[in-house]
C-alpha cells in the first residue's frame, strides 16, 4: 500500500504534496491492527487471564516502557546502555519513598519519580557525549552496578522515617499504595497498560518530529548532523532524558505493582538481560519493545507454569541474540511480519495450484497475509 501512496504524491502538485505531508496517511492496516491489539489488551485480556498471568502481564506492560526507552537509545540514537535496570530501580525507589512520605495522588507521584529519574539518568548518560559503542556500554554497566550497590545498602523504603524511609526494626511493613481507581490486580493491569500506551505515544511523537530527525542524523553521521546545525550534545542528552523519564515512570508503576520492594529483587544482570531482549524484539520498531517485554516477563512465567526451570532462559536468550544478530538484525518486530508475508505467499501459491475447490483455503491464507502487514 506504500507503493500506491508514493505514486499518487509523485503525480501531485506542490500543494498536493504539502497536504500529503501534513496528513501522512500512513499504513491504515498497521494502524487498525495496533488499535485492535490495544483494545484487546485493555478490555478482553483482563477477563480471560487468570490471576497468575494478570500479574505477569502487568510486568510486561511495565517492562515494555523500559525496553521502549532502551530501544530509543540503541535503535534511534545509537547509544548502547547497559544501565537501564538501575534507572528503573531509581524510579521505583523514588516513587516508593514519595508514596510513603506524602499523600499526593498516584499519577503526580509517578510523574515526579519520572522527573527525578530523568535528572539522575541524564547524569548517567553524560559520558555518551564523548563515548559510543562498547565503551559507553561498559561505563553505563558500571554505573548500574554502583547504583545497585548503593540501593542495596540504603534499602528500599518500607514506611520508616528519615531520608531513606527504611526501618529495619519495623515488624509491620505497610504495602506501597496503589491509585484508588486501580486497587485490584486486574484494574492495576489496565492502569499499567494505559500508562504504557501514553509513554509509547510520547516517544512516537518525538520520533515523528524534530528530535526524531536529529537522532536519526546523529546515529548515521555526526558530521552531517553538525553541519545541518543540530546541537548533537543537546539531542543526545535529550534522548537520555526521555528514556530515563519513561523508565522512571515504569519504576513508579512497578513500585505500586509489587507493594513491597526489596533490593534483592534487583540485580545488575537485569540491565544486561534488558539489552538482550531489546535487541531480540527489535530496536528499530516500537513493537519491538512489546515483544522484548513479553520475552523478558511472560516467557519465564509460561515456562514456570509448564514446569520448566526458567534458568534455561538465560541460555535461550543467548542463542536468541546470536540468532537475531546474524539473521535478522532488525529484530523480531521487523522479521516476523516479513516471515508471515512470505508464509502467506507460500500458502497462497500452494492453494492456487489446484484450481477448483480452493476458495475456502484461499480466503484463509489471504487473511494470514493481511494480518501480517
Amino acid at each position: 500500500m506504500a507503493g500506491t501512496d508514493t505514486k499518487s504524491s509523485a503525480a501531485a502538485t506542490v500543494a498536493g504534496q504539502r497536504l500529503a505531508l501534513l496528513r501522512r496517511p500512513e499504513r491504515p492496516v498497521h494502524l487498525s491492527v495496533t488499535v485492535a491489539l490495544v483494545l484487546f489488551a485493555l478490555f478482553a485480556l483482563p477477563e480471560l487471564m487468570s490471576a497468575y498471568y494478570t500479574g505477569y502481564m502487568t510486568l510486561v506492560a511495565i517492562y515494555s516502557i523500559v525496553t521502549l526507552g532502551l530501544g530509543l537509545l540503541v535503535g534511534r540514537v545509537g547509544l548502547y546502555s547497559l544501565g537501564q535496570g538501575a534507572v528503573l530501580q531509581i524510579g521505583a525507589w523514588t516513587a516508593a519513598r514519595l508514596l510513603f512520605a506524602t499523600g499526593q495522588p498516584f499519577p503526580i507521584v509517578i510523574i515526579e519519580a519520572g522527573l527525578v529519574t530523568m535528572l539522575i539518568g541524564t547524569v548517567i548518560g553524560l559520558p555518551a557525549i564523548r563515548l559510543r559503542g562498547l565503551y559507553l556500554a561498559l561505563i553505563t554497566l558500571m554505573m548500574a552496578g554502583a547504583i545497585t550497590v548503593i540501593l542495596a545498602t540504603v534499602n528500599f523504603p518500607n514506611g520508616g522515617g528519615g531520608f531513606t524511609g527504611y526501618d529495619g526494626q519495623q515488624s509491620h511493613i505497610p504495602p506501597i499504595r496503589r491509585p484508588s481507581i486501580a486497587g485490584t490486580d486486574s484494574a492495576y493491569y489496565r492502569y499499567a497498560v494505559v500508562v504504557a500506551i501514553l509513554m509509547f505515544i510520547l516517544v512516537y511523537a518525538h520520533l515523528r518530529t524534530r528530535p526524531g530527525r536529529a537522532w536519526a542524523a546523529i546515529r548515521q553521521s555526526e558530521p552531517a548532523a553538525l553541519a545541518a546545525g543540530i546541537n548533537t550534545t543537546y539531542y543526545k542528552l535529550w534522548a537520555w532524558a526521555l528514556a530515563s523519564f519513561i523508565t522512571g515512570i515504569a519504576g513508579g508503576i512497578l513500585a505500586g505493582d509489587a507493594h513491597y520492594l526489596y533490593s534483592i529483587n534487583f540485580s545488575t544482570q537485569d540491565s544486561i538481560i534488558l539489552l538482550a531482549v531489546a535487541l531480540m524484539g527489535g530496536v528499530y520498531n516500537l513493537w519491538g519493545a512489546v515483544i522484548a517485554a513479553l520475552l523478558m516477563q511472560l516467557l519465564p512465567a509460561v515456562l514456570q507454569n509448564l514446569g520448566v526451570n526458567y534458568a534455561w532462559l538465560t541460555i535461550l536468550f543467548g542463542i536468541g541474540v546470536l540468532q537475531v544478530l546474524t539473521t535478522a538484525p532488525t529484530g523480531l518486530a521487523d522479521q516476523f511480519p516479513k516471515d508471515m508475508k512470505k508464509l502467506g505467499g507460500l500458502i497462497w501459491r500452494l492453494v492456487r495450484r489446484p484450481q477448483p475447490g480452493a476458495s475456502a483455503s484461499a480466503s484463509a491464507s489471504g487473511g494470514a497475509g493481511g494480518g501480517s502487514t
Partner: protein, 235 residues
C-alpha cells in the same frame, strides 16, 4: 563576501593550510588543487570541525571562527561531504527539513519543498533516502544545503562517482544556487569540466598554499597551476 586572512591549520607536524589569504566575492567560486592540497581542511575550518592555528575568517562581516559549529548552520553555512551523507532512515523531506532554518511553520515546510523541487530530484518527498541511488542522494544533500536561507554554501566534490548525465544536471543545479538562494557558493572538485562550467572565479591550492586565483579560464591556463597538476620540474 568572505575574507580569509593568513589561515593556518596544523595536524601535529603537518601543515595542512599554510597562511592562506583569499577573498571570495560572490556567485559560484571554484577551489581546486591536487589531493592533500587542503581543500577539505579549508571546508572543515569554515564549518567548524577543525580549529585553525592562526588566521581569521570574516563572512559578510561576521567572525565565523567565533561561532560554535552547530551555530554556523543557523548563521547560514551549509556544506555537503566528499562521501555523501544523506540520512538513510529519513525521508527526502525529513533529510532536508533537518537543517537549521530561520523560517517557522508553513513557511518552513514550503521552503523545504521548494528546495527539493529546485534540485529536480524527481522522487516523492516522503520516499525513504535509503531506497535511492547515489545520484539522487547527492541531490538530497544539495537540497539540504540550499534550504533555510543559506549565506555560504560549501560543496565538497558533489559530482564524485556520478555518471556524465547526472553530472550535467548537477552542474546546472549548482550554477543556479547563487541566484536561487543569494548565497556565496564554493565548489571543490577534481572535475575540471565541472569547475569551468560552473565557476566564474577559481582559486588553486597546493600543499596548503594558495598558488593562483582569479577568473576560471585564466587560472586554468596559469603555469603554476599546470605545474602543480602535471608535475613539471621546477627550473
Amino acid at each position: 563576501m568572505i575574507e580569509i586572512e593568513n589561515l593556518t591549520v596544523r595536524y601535529g607536524g603537518v601543515t595542512s593550510l599554510d597562511g592562506m589569504s583569499l577573498v571570495f566575492e560572490q556567485g559560484t567560486c571554484g577551489l581546486i588543487g591536487p589531493n592533500g592540497a587542503g581543500k577539505t581542511t579549508f571546508f572543515n575550518v569554515l564549518s567548524g570541525f577543525v580549529r585553525p592555528a592562526a588566521g581569521t575568517v570574516k563572512a559578510f562581516g561576521t567572525d565565523l571562527l567565533a561561532l560554535a559549529h552547530y551555530r554556523r548552520a543557523r548563521w547560514g553555512v551549509r556544506r555537503t561531504f566528499q562521501t555523501e551523507q544523506a540520512i538513510e532512515d529519513l525521508s527526502v523531506y525529513d533529510n532536508v527539513a533537518m537543517v537549521a532554518s530561520p523560517l517557522r511553520g508553513a513557511a518552513r515546510r514550503a521552503d523545504v519543498l521548494a528546495a527539493i523541487e529546485y534540485v529536480g530530484i524527481n522522487v516523492p518527498p516522503l520516499a525513504k533516502v535509503g531506497t535511492l541511488g547515489v545520484g539522487k542522494r547527492r541531490l538530497v544533500e544539495v537540497a539540504r544545503a540550499v534550504a533555510g536561507k543559506p549565506r555560504l554554501v560549501l560543496l565538497d566534490e558533489p559530482a564524485a562517482g556520478l555518471p556524465e548525465e547526472e553530472t550535467t544536471h548537477l552542474a546546472a543545479v549548482i550554477r543556479g544556487i547563487p541566484e536561487y538562494t543569494g548565497a556565496l557558493t564554493i565548489l571543490v572538485d577534481h572535475d575540471m569540466s565541472l569547475v569551468s562550467a560552473v565557476c566564474s572565479t577559481t582559486a588553486v591550492l597546493d600543499f596548503g598554499k594558495l598558488i593562483a586565483s582569479g577568473p576560471t579560464a585564466a587560472v586554468l591556463r596559469d603555469e603554476h597551476v599546470m605545474r602543480a597538476y602535471l608535475g613539471t620540474a621546477e627550473v
